[in-house]
Amino acid sequence: MLLSQYPIADGIRLHYHRAEQFKSNELTVSFLLPLEKESAALTTLLPNVLLHATEHYPTLAQLNDHTNDLYGASVSFDTEKKGDLFSLSISVNFLKNEFISDGTDLLSEAISLLEEILYCPLLENGAFCERIVALEKEKAIAAIKSLIDNKRAYAAVRLIDEMCRTERYSIRANGTVEDMEAITPNSLYAHYLTLLERAPIEIFFIGSGDPTVLCARLGALFAKQKREPLSLPSTEIIARAERVNEVREPQQAQQSNLVLGFRGVPSRADLEKSAAFAVFCDLYGGSPTSKLFLNVREKKSLCYFCRASARSQKGLMLVQAGIAAENKSVAQEEILYQLDLTRAGEITDEEILMAKRDITNLFRAISDSPATIQSHALNLCVDGASYSMDEYLAAIAAVTREQIIAAAKNLTLDTVFFLEGIAKEEADV
């Protein structure tokens, strides 16, 4: 959906969505940066340090006590790779004033809290505290290493490593252990200053509140901030794969993970093509009535999980399946066979209708949570798209069989990554 936009400062916008149905408000500040190796680690570490302690709440406990005092307000953050861009979002979620009986203005308190986090970091010697940076670095490194605990997520990341080896997109979103280790309180502080000065900033407010008041408060918050917003690079898109690369990696696991990476997904800025691809992806592998679910899972009993999903900002589609190791060839064949069938037009009218209805349902459901509203709105900013909900749904409804076939034909298989499960005896105590 389109949120009302208000300028706050140079390269800083407020996106406002009035939502009466929730009992709380959500305020999110999102920073956008180019995806770069060292800055990925810095940007991943930064919110951990900012939310560890601030000038007026100099310990974890005090900061936590303060948010608890604000009737259980919660502060959270999220970092995400979006094509060749990287986003850092910091959110404050807090109850609406009508649910509080003592007259506290939580909206005002929440903005003050945001100001505290962004502009009152705990510093020593003109940079972040050494002890806190060291501590949070350790945690961040542990988090990077723990990717392997989730086989499906690990397999998807490895596919990207291999497929986009020579492309910026292969930069790991959480940073690498080496880059994280190299961070110092000074380098992190410099990055923090850069973020405030140069990153385009999109602010989202979802809930009940006067936009004029919000603009005034946010304007005041950023008033003294020197701004020189950089223009964000566009994402490198490789339209076609010239040949297929197969990679196999052994792993101590009961189940194997097969991931196929395809090129040829259109950008969401092109509404018509993007809608056609969305319908194709849903009917191919995006729902329990999709070709992949009905064939790879139900008919051939090869897996419990088999899905197709798009990384549309990078123009990629991934098909992922959790299978027994010995079924790799059979599963891969079936996945590609179902794609061939789609390209050959073996699609019923009912399949198309169900895919359209499914997408319509999912899309309408976006307005049911502040998090999904904010995420969708941020993606629109990044994609350079500006369609309304009605325009999107109309585009979906208008997708033709020929367009679906064209979307399928536009895909080329680039890389197959197979995380081969090898079971080993474990010691049970």
């Binding site: 406990a61 290493k145 723990s146 009905l294």
Partner: protein, 430 residues
């Protein structure tokens, strides 16, 4: 004739209509002005019902582990061969199901045609169809689901902890069973479980969103046949207060050890109101003890002993009660020692009343948060309902909570013989 009753809570600005449907089913319609409508048709039957007795039987029926979950999968099959997901997809609804320890729930979410989808939901769950062939086919699929679960270290960690805590309570059995146990499932056994537990008097429908109670009732009128209630004698073995064993340890492909400390609680009141009150106390106490302001968290976090966040949760219902604290650490035994010494210090110094008031106030946001999504509302409503409580009372229970309540809970819950720890360690290179 179906009876309608409206229940309202002005402080929360929430209400629902309870329909005592003619068929024997209890239906709950929760009006919300959201885009989605979310409906759950659930039965009080889960993995802990590993044995049961028909009212007129002389002995228990023991069923293979994983059968409740297997049944859930097979429910989607229709006698005419039509796929249930297709039936929902025609109306644009998103369908799913889950089996937990104490219930199986069939659900859908939609932004259009809720009554059509509701009809599909009520219809397919009340028309079971199982054959040896369809059972056979499912073995492969669930086999892969089980493997996926076996590879999930957090899953193993959880079951390891439950195995430590419980001697007899079937909550420690993996909900999906094992590849071996599900191989013993037959169509006859599935029918046996279905006929015992999928009786409308043992089930409930909860539908949340922009729907009208009268129209919901009409759909039920069309689909549901009147059913006589059936007595189910459930297996609820007594458990000693002390844990079955203190440690579980397994090696898996993880980057660092994971730990899960379980605190066993056998003080479960037969009175649902007492249990609901205890849940309110548990929710505040666990935050007081383990959130980011707690000395325990701070000491293990700041010392570098704890790698990331500390996860904690509790479960308290008619069948089992426990508190769990888990995370990642290079030295789980050191965490355990810190835990012991922390609990000891709290016992000596007592809990802090200012902390209690602060956490009680903060908990209010969590209570309200449930109402901000048709999905969380419907799921929590069913969870409370199946334990004999009303979700709309949750704010009142929190409101009535006193510092004394929480101190008494701490004293009764934390006792060393009730603690155990499960550990998942990295596989060491040879």
């Amino acid at each position: 004739m179906s009876e309608f009753k409206t229940v309202q809570n002005d402080a929360l600005a929430e209400s629902y209509v309870h329909i005592r449907h003619d068929s024997g089913l209890d239906i709950y319609v929760i009006p919300k002005s959201f885009s989605t409508v979310y409906a759950i048709f659930g039965t009080r039957y889960g993995s802990i019902d590993s044995r049961f007795r028909f009212a007129d039987a002389s002995e228990d029926t023991v069923v293979p582990d994983g059968i409740a979950h297997f049944l859930e999968h097979k429910m989607f099959e229709n006698e005419n061969g039509e796929d249930t997901f297709l039936r929902f997809a025609r109306f644009g609804a998103n369908a799913n199901a889950y089996t937990s320890f104490d219930k199986t729930c069939y659900l859908f979410s939609c932004t259009d045609s809720p009554y059509d989808s509701l009809e599909v939901l009520l219809d397919y769950v009340t028309h079971p169809y199982f054959t040896e062939q369809t059972v056979q086919k499912e073995q492969g699929i669930i086999g892969q689901e089980i493997r996926m679960g076996e590879d999930n270290p957090h899953n193993r960690l959880l079951y390891g902890m439950l195995e430590c805590l419980y001697e007899k309570n079937p909550v420690k059995i993996d909900i999906a069973g094992t590849v071996e146990s599900i191989s013993h499932i037959t169509a006859d056994l599935l029918f046996s479980c279905y006929n015992t537990f999928y009786n409308l008097h043992n089930m409930a429908l909860c539908i949340c969103g922009d729907v009208d109670a009268q129209k919901v009732c009409e759909v039920a009128d069309r689909v549901l046949k009147k059913q006589a209630p059936q007595t189910i004698v459930r297996y609820r073995p007594a458990e000693a207060p002390q844990v079955a064993k203190p440690r579980y340890c397994a090696k898996m492909s993880v980057s660092a050890p994971l730990f899960s400390i379980g605190i066993k609680d056998v003080a479960i009141s037969p009175d649902p109101a007492v249990r609901a009150k205890k849940r309110a106390a548990l929710s505040v106490l666990q935050n007081m003890l383990f959130d980011k302001s707690s000395p325990f968290f701070l000491s293990i976090y700041e010392s570098g002993l704890l790698n990331g966040s500390l996860d904690y949760w509790y479960e308290h219902n008619e069948a089992f009660s426990l508190l769990c604290v888990s995370g990642e650490s290079d030295d789980p035994e050191a965490i355990y020692r810190e835990f012991l010494s922390y609990i000891d210090s709290v016992r000596k110094e007592g809990l802090d009343e200012a902390s209690f008031l602060r956490h009680k106030r903060a908990q209010y946001a969590d209570v309200l948060d449930v109402f901000d999504s048709t999905e969380s509302l419907a799921n929590q409503f069913i969870a409370e309902l199946f334990d004999g409580a009303d979700l709309l009372d949750s704010a009142a229970y929190l409101d009535a909570l006193t510092f004394t309540d929480v101190c008494e809970l701490f004293a009764s819950l934390f006792c060393e013989k009730a603690y155990a720890m499960s550990i998942i360690e990295p596989i060491t290179e040879e």
